[in-house]
């Protein structure tokens, strides 16, 4: 048992597990709105855009969070504005703005060979380098986002369900969308150091999609997706200690494994939902195939 508690003996691991748990809670919560808005790609895109801001921060020597926030929020608003143009559309707006911002980061890095390490850290995360201040920032953002979701629950739900109709019912759609852009940008920024540019999208999408397979209730989806994100974040970093694999990758692989299990289970449930269990239907199909009689458990023959 001593070896199982080993990760908790190192302060940097404890910080990493707490950080990954908080980021998991955050991405699990925000991810519900992303998935239900059919914006799975935006997490991927925005994390790349924020990467540009991170590089600019390194180059100019300003605080990472300040540079990434300005850059990320700017990109989120640009996506929001361009996406409303019917001739562009949301997906194309994300593709253009985020890749352009990412390319700017790459261009800056290519001019400074010494940034190779920072480049990798931004791409794949550097969770073991989490400081106490980082934990405060992540915790603060988590609390802020939870408060926003709680207070703006109904307008957020309405605009997520049907943005066109929400406006006719007096929902301040533009404000809600702007607020959501801020929430999303903040989520991506604080997740960058934990998960890296390349893995944030998975953490935003997998927990809500997994829970969606299990429930038709929005409230349950929010609660369970948040908990699943937090749990897999914490557990992923914990397991990474033993398997000696990148923490961010372990978190995402753990989430993917849970998703695969739930998908298999829910598929089996769906098969049995028609009344007769799947195994019985399989047996019936087999009987029809061989066209004869099968023996039941007692050995007595019976008609198929």
């Amino acid at each position: 048992m001593g070896s199982l508690a080993e990760p908790f003996q190192f302060e940097f691991m404890v910080r990493a597990m707490i950080a990954a748990g908080l980021v998991g809670l955050l991405t699990g919560l925000v991810g519900v709105y992303i998935v239900l808005r059919h914006l799975a790609y935006i997490g991927h895109g925005l994390s790349h855009a924020v990467f540009g801001g991170a590089v600019v921060s390194f180059v100019t020597g300003i605080n990472f969070y300040v540079g990434a926030t300005v850059w990320g929020v700017f990109a989120a608003f640009l996506i929001n504005i361009a996406g409303r143009n019917r001739r562009i559309g949301g997906d194309a707006a994300i593709g253009i703005i985020t890749t352009a911002a990412f390319a700017m980061g790459v261009a800056l890095i290519s001019r400074r060979a010494t940034f190779t390490r920072d480049f990798e850290a931004a791409l794949f995360g550097e969770i073991l380098g989490i400081t106490g201040d980082d934990l405060y920032v992540i915790g603060g953002v988590m609390a802020l986002v939870a408060a926003v979701v709680f207070v703006w629950w109904k307008p957020l739900l309405f605009t997520t369900f049907d943005v066109g109709v929400a406006r006719s019912y007096g929902v301040p759609v533009e404000w809600v969308e702007a607020l959501f852009s801020l929430v999303l940008a903040a989520t991506v920024i604080v997740s960058l150091q934990v998960l890296g540019v390349t893995l944030i999208a998975a953490a935003l999408v997998i927990p809500p999609v997994t829970v969606r397979l299990l429930t038709d209730s929005f409230n349950r989806l929010i609660i369970l997706s948040t908990l699943l994100g937090g749990l897999t974040g914490f557990a992923g970093v914990y397991f990474s200690w033993f398997v000696d694999v990148s923490s961010g990758a372990t978190v995402v692989l753990l989430q993917a494994a849970v998703f695969a299990l739930v998908l298999a289970w829910s598929s089996l449930q769906a098969q049995t939902r028609g009344g007769r269990p799947y195994a019985e239907r399989l047996a019936n199909a087999g009987r029809q195939l061989i066209g004869g009689e099968l023996a039941d458990a007692s050995g007595n023959p019976r008609r198929a």
Partner: protein, 303 residues
């Protein structure tokens, strides 16, 4: 008598959702005067004049893409106004007109994880407090509205697990729970069977008799001819006819609207529009429908 949409006599003023002016026509609820609207600089509806009276039940017909939905959005103030005036005149005691909008079912995400009760509660998002969970009185109100529409037993059901008629009633309940002055329904009878269509029209008639103003868009020409007293015909991004079914459903107006020859059969108060006058397989015996019956009488749904 056919009157062009410009021939509007009601007074109006260029203020949206303002307080009722002293000089307004008493019965007027919404007034559009030479209104041109659109989206992102592109005109979608041009030079429309229309006066909707309190408690009126108006049907809007026209081909797809002609501007029917834009007309509804224009009334709600959701389209960009390029010219003309839109005046909404709220009843005494209300600062603004309350709309209850029922979108086309095709625009709904039926896989969204939401129950009937939650959908209806969205119609009271502002009045029901900030907390995520509904208050007891809000749930009771939802129950009353659902009961009124005959789906009181479906509150906990997911919206995907509903029939076409139940889906329409769910979104009608969301519109009604806000106690609207005007219901706007975008093709509420599309994609449903004839029995459900009849039930929906019957339900809307009951609501209208209870004092709720209604505008609905539809492709069901014979349905609205049988049930409504007033129709508006939209074609080529403008209103080309406004009047009773007998005034609007003429071969000439239908040709201008749909770009095709159509036969109009009249028998008593009943009007039937047939799509292909030359087709030999058409049922042209009006006796198959009980002409002059309550269903065929436009006054049945009259306010």
């Amino acid at each position: 008598m056919l009157r062009r949409s410009k021939a509007v006599t009601a007074t109006s003023r260029p203020v949206e959702h303002g307080p009722p002016p002293a000089t307004r026509a008493v019965e007027s609820l919404v007034n559009l005067r030479e209104l041109t609207v659109g989206y992102e600089g592109v005109v979608a509806l041009e030079d429309v004049s229309l006066d909707l009276r309190r408690g009126e039940f108006l049907g809007v017909v026209g081909p797809s893409g002609s501007g029917k939905t834009t007309l509804l959005r224009a009334i709600m103030g959701q389209a960009d106004r390029f010219a003309g005036e839109l005046t909404c005149l709220p009843p005494e005691g209300r600062k603004a007109l309350r709309f209850g909008y029922v979108p086309q079912v095709g625009t709904i995400d039926w896989n969204f994880p939401i129950t009937v009760e939650q959908v209806v509660l969205l119609g009271r998002w502002r009045e029901s407090g900030r907390l995520p969970w509904p208050r007891r009185q809000d749930r009771a109100l939802v129950g009353q509205v659902l009961e009124r529409l005959g789906i009181g037993h479906l509150g906990g059901r997911h919206i995907r697990a509903l029939s076409g008629g139940e889906q329409q009633r769910t979104f009608l309940a969301r519109a009604l729970i806000g106690d609207p002055d005007l219901l706007l329904l975008d093709e509420p009878t599309s994609g449903v069977d004839i029995k459900t269509r009849h039930d929906i029209m019957h339900l809307l008639g009951e609501l209208n008799r209870a004092g709720v103003g209604i505008i609905l868009t539809t492709h069901e020409l014979n349905g609205v001819a049988a049930h409504l007293r007033r129709l508006v015909c939209v074609a080529d991004r403008t209103v080309i006819a406004d009047g009773t079914p007998a005034e609007v459903f003429t071969p000439e107006i239908l040709r201008r609207t749909y770009g095709a020859e159509m036969m109009v059969i009249r028998r008593g108060n009943a009007i039937y529009v047939l799509e292909h006058p030359d087709g030999e397989d058409l049922v042209t015996e009006p006796e198959i429908v009980p002409a002059g019956s309550a269903e065929a009488d436009g006054s049945r749904w009259a306010p």
